[in-house]
């Protein structure tokens, strides 16, 4: 919402500057987004008279003028100015730009300069050069009696600062200059002038009958007709200037009047050309599929829950939102119907949303205009039409009734302190409320009558806001929140602690944490079976599907890094996967490029392998407190095409509980995301990690064994297909009491090992309890190990 200082003074008496207005508006809840004074652009331009005009001695198309620009300029002596405009002539009064002035249209600073050998002391300007219009055929011609020497900005009435205010959606009453003036007056900036409401002596019933057939959507439809208006007249200068200052194009006198009242008083109206109407004009529900061409030139197809203003021939107005092109006023309009209606805000909002049509009228009606301001508005609009366009008014017709109920709110003045944090004297609170138009009855509690234009106020906290904002929030004193006794308690949930630990563990292991978009493209989601959640209104096709995996985002990041020349990529992200059942917290790691650079010791750069992914998965799960010693390495979850068919696995606690997946990605998947080379990845499913039992800080009792552990090596021949993990597990299980660890330390196939077989060497750690092992005991254990290995198909090497 824009206002000008001059316009504000129309409603507000007092000695204030634009700076006072800005500071006060900000203080009372109307954020000022900008202040602009058009006069600043016109500094250095003055009203000037051409005294003589001679042909330039060196150029056919130029003239040498002598120009008088008032006593302040050149001590009143004429200036020589070179000018190329065809209309420059002696006696013309125009606008002179003096040296130092900046031409608004091109930002050029004027200087004293020789033009073809003649010194020019400024420039006579065209409309376009001053950004006042498009005319560039010649220089501006002002009336002959324009005061020579006056600053042009003052002469043109442009010295009127424009203040751009962000009106919050609850304050429809401030979507007109007068409402803002009322708030400023309540805050002590000036005094609100009384609003002059004319009394129109209309004769006879309106020439067009009006009615409302949709009282739920249009409870009130007031109007009158005016015959014999002249819409060819120019809009008065003061009105045109104000409208243009706030960015409204002047269209015709009638349209300008309607707009002016809307921006002045926050009251939209509509003026129909009666010549285009057939029969009575009624507010009614649209019929499904009914169409209308609105004033913006676009066609709209309406639905049955929308409201229209229509006559016998069709729709003339999308009620409260935008008028129809057909019955709009034109130069030839002579008979008009003025509509002042009240539309139910919720319906306007729904219709506007459905049609995706915004307008100044809609933004006011959907916030709720003052239901008590229909009669007065009709009179004010009528009077302006009569004053400017002439004509003969009919009597006013009132179809229906606006919803006029006076709300009363219980209010305890102590609330300004106990809710608002500012102790304000009740007498002061009363004064503030009354200046805003509230009625105050000092009962217990106070009874506050809410003015008809304050639809937003319906409870005591609203009253607190009124008295505290007008007082100013600067008066709020900080008061410490009560503090619990003792040291602050831990607040993190187990899930939060888990995420924090994992994040730091991954960073410590050399991975960089990325944050990637929660939404990906259909193409990116496709390898994961697509996404369960697709946006109806994505910002682009790239950001459309809620990610079913963190891999696409990280692979895209890896690809961008490769494009920038990164040769070793270690990225991770902790975030959610959005599946049909829920949002699942997940940690994903991606490794691409080389694990280590080429070096003087190792030679060539080393690639990442699937075992790097396994190491990362286990280290992270260990950091997460998962029981890694009990995890089983099993086949990947069947997502064909995600993982390398032979170089990936899952870590599970039992067959169902998949805690992590790791391994090499399928090369075609990496290619799908344009990542070069082999890519390793880990996914850890945080919600699958069993929570630790809360057992207090104490650990289980433990004393290190007194006797040293004994190590024995076993070498087995096994079929190549035997998973080494199965062998180790079998060996470890051969004697659960004495074998505390078993570790594979060699794997060999080739010379000395039969085809199709592999040699696997396992180190077994035995822990004696009370006394050292005797040879016979060791033999018994060794036999158990060999027997256990045999069960999985491994034979002790001879």
């Amino acid at each position: 919402m824009k206002i000008t200082l001059d316009w504000l003074r129309e409603h507000l008496d007092g000695d204030f500057t634009v700076a006072d207005v800005v500071a006060t508006l900000n203080r009372i809840g109307h954020e000022v987004e900008g202040v602009e004074n058009p006069a600043e652009k016109l500094a250095g331009f003055r009203v000037a008279r051409v005294l003589t005009a001679e042909k330039h001695p060196q150029a056919d198309k130029l003239q040498v003028l002598t120009v008088e620009a008032g006593p302040e300029i050149n001590a009143g002596a004429p200036l020589t100015v070179v000018c190329g405009a065809p209309n420059a002539r002696a006696g013309l009064v125009g606008v002179l730009g003096l040296p130092g002035a900046v031409v608004p249209v091109n930002g050029m600073e004027l200087k004293v300069a020789a033009v073809r050998g003649v010194e020019s002391n400024g420039m006579m300007c065209s409309t376009r050069e001053l950004e006042l219009g498009d005319d560039h055929d010649g220089i501006i011609e002002l009336p002959a009696d324009a005061p020579v020497g006056t600053a042009f900005a003052d002469y043109a009435g442009a010295n009127d600062p424009v203040v751009d205010i962000s009106i919050t959606p609850n304050r429809q009453d401030c979507m007109g200059v007068r409402g803002i003036a009322r708030d400023l007056a309540a805050a002590g900036l000036g005094k609100l002038k009384p609003l002059t409401v004319p009394s129109i002596d209309g004769q006879g019933a309106p020439a067009t009958e009006i009615a409302t057939l949709a009282p739920d959507a249009c409870p009130a439809f007031y109007g009158r007709t005016i015959a014999g208006v002249d819409n060819k007249v120019a809009t008065p200068e003061w009105m045109r200037r104000r409208l243009e200052a706030i960015g409204q194009r002047s269209i015709s006198a009638l349209v300008d009047i309607s707009n002016y009242v809307m921006f002045d008083l926050g009251r939209p109206s509509h003026i129909y050309d009666r010549a285009k109407l057939t029969g009575a004009l009624v507010a009614r529900r649209a019929t499904d599929g009914e169409t209308v061409t609105a004033l913006n030139g676009k066609d709209y197809t309406l639905a049955g829950d929308m409201t229209v203003i229509a006559d016998d021939s069709g729709v003339h107005d999308i009620a409260g939102i935008m008028g129809g092109e057909h019955s709009g006023c034109s130069e030839t309009t002579t008979d008009v119907l003025v509509e002042i209606a009240y539309f139910t805000p919720e319906r306007i909002a729904l219709t506007g949303q459905a049609l995706a049509l915004t307008s100044d009228a809609r933004s006011r009606f959907e916030r709720g205009v003052d239901p008590a301001f229909l009669d007065d508005a009709t009179e004010i609009v009528t009077q302006l039409i009569l004053d400017i366009c002439g004509g003969t008014p009919s009597a006013m017709t009132r179809a229906g009734e606006p919803p006029l109920t006076t709300r009363t709110v219980d209010y305890d003045p102590a609330l300004s302190a106990t809710l608002g944090g500012i102790a304000i004297e009740p007498v002061r609170q009363r004064a503030v409320l009354e200046s805003l138009g509230f009625g105050v009855t000092e009962a217990s509690p106070w009874q506050i009558a809410v003015p008809s234009w304050r639809r937003d106020v319906d409870a005591a906290p609203d009253i607190v806001e009124e008295v505290t904002r007008i007082t100013g929030f600067d008066a709020i004193e900080s008061v410490a929140l009560p503090r619990a006794d003792g040291v602050a308690k831990p607040t993190a949930t187990p899930e939060q602690s888990l995420e924090r630990r994992l994040r730091r563990a991954a960073a410590a292991a050399g991975y960089h944490e990325a944050v990637t978009w929660s939404f990906v493209s259909d193409r990116e989601a496709a390898p994961f079976g697509g996404g369960a959640w697709s946006l109806a209104n994505p910002i682009s096709e790239d950001l459309k599907v809620m990610r079913p995996s963190l891999l696409p985002g990280l692979l895209a990041a890896a690809q961008r890094n490769q494009n920038r020349g990164a040769d070793s990529i270690r990225l991770f992200e902790i975030g959610r996967r959005y599946l049909s059942d829920a949002e699942h917290p997940t940690l994903c790691v991606v490794m691409a490029g080389s694990k280590s650079e080429r070096g003087w010791q190792a030679g060539k750069a080393q690639p990442f392998t699937a075992y790097d992914a396994k190491a990362a998965a286990l280290a992270l799960l260990d950091a997460a407190g998962a029981p890694t010693e009990r995890l089983q390495v099993m086949e990947p979850v069947a997502d064909a095409g995600i993982w390398h068919p032979g170089q990936a696995a899952t870590l599970r606690l039992g067959p169902k509980a998949v805690l992590a997946e790791f391994g090499a990605l399928h090369p075609s998947l990496a290619r799908h995301y344009d990542v070069d080379g082999a890519v390793m990845a880990v996914q850890i499913f945080l919600d699958a990690i069993p929570a630790k039992r809360a057992s207090g800080p104490a650990r289980s009792a433990f004393t290190p064994p007194a006797l040293q552990a004994v190590r024995r090596d076993f070498a087995f021949l096994a079929p190549e297909a035997l998973a080494a993990g199965d062998l180790v597990r079998a060996v470890k299980g051969a004697d659960k009491a004495l074998i505390v660890d078993a570790r594979l330390f060699d794997r060999f196939a080739g010379q000395g090992v039969p085809d199709g077989q592999v040699s696997l060497a396992v180190e077994v750690v035995l822990q004696p309890a009370e006394k050292s092992f005797a040879e016979a005991e060791l033999k018994v254990i060794a036999d158990k190990v060999v027997a256990a290995a045999a069960k999985v198909g491994a034979v002790l090497r001879g």
Binding site: T168, E366, D474, V479, R483, R504, W517, S518, S534, M546
Partner: protein, 365 residues
């Protein structure tokens, strides 16, 4: 000088002159071996009278000990020299590069969230979370933003396709972290103190807006809470976060459907070398105000919507952008870079794994 002394002098002279371990061993064998000269002398003791033995015995033993000690000393010296000579050949160029351990990092958004959790834990605020795919009721209606409310237009909402008749309400991506307020009030009995950080979404994308960003919400529900407590909490939080006591806030009345009264909160700052440095009074010379937070007293309707009695419970809520907080404190100037995963950016602006914000060690890493 006795013969024995002369012999010892001669032998130790030879020992000290030995140039390698082999020569030394030859000397040892010659003196102390089975057929050695000293061994031979010792053998003569058996043939002496006790009186003679009393005189000669100690002299021979002294000779033997002296030579043994000389041999050991020379051996140690020769071994030491040999080791030095060997080590001299093992010299490495210690300027050659060693294998580097990869250095990872924690994203600034995560770091700032950890900082916030730490600061607010000290004030008794727990960290709450909620779904990002929300229903209309939690994101809007319960927060006093009915379908026809103009404030809905302020949220550029991402919607999921409408579901069929009779199905659950329309789902959307939460436009703010405020639905967590609702979920918390419905699940927990007051008094409540929480912050709720997380991802939020608006259909908006330009130089300073991304369709996904991070917010942190704060909520206090208790008895007798007012705007003064809100101001204190925000001041205390910002002082701790920016690590300066020179934080000046300006509260401006504003409007949010879910709070009443509502305030926008500006913080004073100054511009230094192209960066905004938070601190100082925005009205002072060289300073200005910037809008940082939205806040207010929780609207009675919102409290009632959550099944609490608004006559008994009142409190405040606030919201602030986490990415924005990170940028202001750590000096990033491009929001879009937060979501790019550029390793160079992450290495520069990210945080070390061990830089855990703590009250005793400092909030800033």
């Amino acid at each position: 000088m006795s013969d024995y002394q002369a012999m010892q002098a001669e032998l130790t002279g030879a020992i000290d002159a030995a140039t390698d371990l082999d020569a030394l061993e030859a000397l040892r064998v010659a003196a102390l071996g089975k057929a050695g000269s000293i061994t031979g002398l010792l053998k003569t003791l058996g043939g002496l009278t006790p009186e003679e033995r009393q005189v000669v015995g100690p002299q021979i033993h002294s000779l033997r000990e002296g030579v043994t000690a000389a041999l050991a000393a020379r051996k140690a010296a020769l071994e030491g020299a040999a080791l030095e000579a060997k080590l001299a050949n093992e010299r490495l160029d210690m300027t050659l590069p060693a294998d580097a351990s990869p250095r990872g990092s924690v994203h600034p958004v995560s770091q700032v969230m950890d900082e916030l959790a730490e600061i607010f834990a000290d004030m008794g605020f727990a960290v709450a979370t909620g779904p990002e795919i929300e229903d209309d009721w939690h994101n809007f209606t319960a927060l006093n933003i009915p379908e026809t409310h103009p404030a809905r237009a302020m949220h550029d909402t991402f919607y999921f396709p409408e579901v069929g008749e009779g199905a659950a309400q329309r789902m959307l991506l939460r436009t703010h972290t405020s639905p967590v307020q609702i979920r918390t009030m419905m699940e927990k009995a007051p008094p409540i103190r929480i912050i709720a950080p997380g991802r939020v979404y608006r259909s908006d994308s330009d130089a300073t807006h991304t369709p996904m960003f991070h917010q942190v919400e704060g909520l206090v529900i208790d008895r007798g809470i007012h705007m003064g407590h809100l101001k204190y909490t925000l001041e205390t939080f910002l002082k701790a976060y920016f690590e300066t006591d020179d934080i000046v806030l300006r509260l401006r009345p504003s409007y949010f459907p879910f709070t009443e009264p509502s305030a926008e909160v500006d913080v004073g700052y100054k511009q230094e070398k192209g960066r905004r440095i938070v601190g100082g009074n925005g009205d002072d010379d060289g300073h200005a105000w910037m809008e940082l937070l939205g806040s207010g007293m929780v609207n009675r309707r919102v409290i009632a919507n959550c099944g609490l009695d608004p006559d008994e419970w009142q409190g405040f809520a606030f919201g602030v952008g986490v990415d924005r907080l990170a940028m202001l404190k750590y000096g990033m100037d491009d929001l879009r870079a937060f979501f790019d995963g550029d390793l160079r950016w992450l290495a520069h602006y990210g945080f070390g794994a061990l830089s855990v914000p703590t009250l005793s060690g400092g909030i800033s890493a």
